[in-house]
Symmetry: C2
Subunit: 335 residues, 2 copies
């Protein structure tokens, strides 16, 4: 039975991530985490005709891989939670349509990995599912076309710009079993600090990360030093610096434990990705490929995973709205 | 504690819809259900500068109204589930950002009302929330611009076309309390019957409705005559006829109990809406305004509410993909 702790956190019991998988594109395959991913593609199109179909394929491959690593079949999964960045989330719907699993579509922008795993964990904990899956993807080329310009336009990127990760992560959650456990979920509130620059997502998302991380510590009474690592999704360099400043104002110092998936997935300088990786596939593939392995091997035993999302659209930006944001956090622990 | 029944249905216990509200636009205010809506606007812009901001306002007004009808305050709501049809779901994020409630974004296209209420019910049942809200909206003008053409283009509508409802519905769910109760949720699978015509949503969504309704009857052993009414979301005339045919093949006759929210909200002939109303605000406002009142007054005591969504985007249609669809179903009962 789930139990509310404080205002935003839900403690849950004995829900295990029995397997995970990460599938990525060519640029991620040249980055420092390459060896941790289950599948590295050397073609951005994955043999498909369009980037959108390629993104769907990232999702279906990641889910297929996670299911088979768990020694299960699709029919063992009671419900799948999934989301992506494409308009009307077509990466998820077309990617997962053939699995024949009851489907719950989610939209959390780049916070989707934490959101979908957290919601899946509540479902399994409640008995609404015996076994649930969570899948998240993004694709550099489909994102650039949709949010900015077609690649052929060759537009110049700002120094604060981040590079959308081509990748997907999938997770299988069950009650009991062996593996790292989701111990709590902190669902975030929408934050607005008045950021207007849609090319500076890190700055827009840092306040949401700060708010949710601070809420977690307030709700649970835990402290940063209790954790082997505190991961954020895709703040990049600009957002990371801002997060540290914002949390210091709340009396929280996380510099020592903090790592940002957006700064881990690429060698930012050598790979010319400016402020770091981004996109909901960034945190999903780093968690599904790299972090879960660290937990499984016992190199880390207790971590926080906080994925942040910017809740904007090209329309809202063109209409002069601020870049508002949200962050959801899960605590994953070995036992 | 939630309990799985059969393959797709989750039975839940004593979760009450303690209040609901519906806010609609001018065309809906001239339709047959006008007197049931909480707020009828006579201006499509609701005094805002853009249709997107107007849609956000529909959501915020509906949630505010539902909270105040429940005699609660925003801080009493532990989590809000919300979705809409706009790219990146900005109707929900900008509409609900000022409520300061932990926010879970959902994407189910026009199935969002059933999806968000169903997911909220599982959360309250599990103890993850004591009180949850579910909000859904659509807006004719923001949808036309995004999915089809700007209104100024004056494009001709096909006979099978439906009219996107300008409206929002909001629901407050708690454990115990007085009011109609969510007794079970049937989460749907993605269906693909090869429909290519993006102007014939009814035909695309009917297979999903048929699949989820049949799954409900199979999972629970109930029969159509057990219900005062079986509501679908926005199949319109074309989809309604097709649904009856598809269910007859499964040995299920629902004609007597079946009503479609898309055919209820407008006088299709007089209001020139072709095949009926559509959009996720259609089923949300008809449920929040009209159906919940029927349950509260005891005119109906046991109903099924099945909202259907077409999981397409203009991009998927342009790339030649089929119009795939999904339907989620909730059983609402007085006691």
């Amino acid at each position: 039975m789930a139990k509310r702790i404080g205002k935003q956190t839900v403690a849950i019991d004995d829900i295990t991530i029995i397997s995970s998988a990460a599938v990525v594109g060519p640029k991620e395959a040249q980055g420092p985490l390459a060896k941790d991913f289950d599948v590295c593609h050397n073609d951005s199109l994955l043999g498909e005709e369009t980037f959108e179909k390629a993104e769907s394929r990232l999702q279906s491959q990641a889910l297929q891989k996670a299911i088979s690593k768990a020694g299960r079949k699709s029919e063992d999964i009671d419900v799948v939670f999934a989301g992506d960045l494409l308009n009307q989330c077509i990466g998820s719907s077309f990617g997962l349509m053939n699995f024949n699993i009851p489907f719950i579509g989610m939209y959390g922008a780049c916070s989707t990995a934490a959101l979908s795993i957290g919601t899946a964990a509540v479902f399994v904990d409640s008995g609404a599912a015996n076994c649930a899956a969570a899948v998240t993807s993004s694709h550099f080329c489909s994102s650039e076309r949709q949010y900015r310009f077609p690649l052929e336009y060759g537009s110049v990127r700002t120094p604060t710009a981040q590079w959308t990760v081509t990748g997907a992560g999938a997770f299988i959650l069950c009650k009991g079993g062996t593996g790292p456990k989701v111990k709590s979920v902190t669902f975030g509130k929408i934050e607005d600090l008045g950021v207007k620059d849609a090319n500076n997502m890190g700055a827009a998302m840092a306040p949401a990360a700060a708010s949710t991380i601070a809420a977690y510590f307030e709700d649970t009474g835990a402290a940063p030093q209790d954790f082997d690592a505190i991961y954020t999704g895709d703040l990049g360099q600009v957002g990371t610096d801002l997060l540290h400043q914002l949390l210091q104002k709340e009396g929280l110092k996380i510099e020592k434990q903090h790592r940002d998936c957006g700064l881990m997935i690429f060698d930012c300088e050598k790979q010319d990705v400016h402020a770091g990786g981004s996109g909901c596939g960034c945190s999903a593939s780093v968690l599904g490929g790299h972090i879960i392995k660290k937990l499984q091997s016992g190199k880390e035993n207790n971590i926080l995973f906080c994925a942040t999302g910017a809740l904007l659209s090209p329309t809202s930006t063109q209409q002069g709205e601020n870049v508002i944001s949200i962050a959801h956090l899960i605590n994953i622990k070995n036992r």
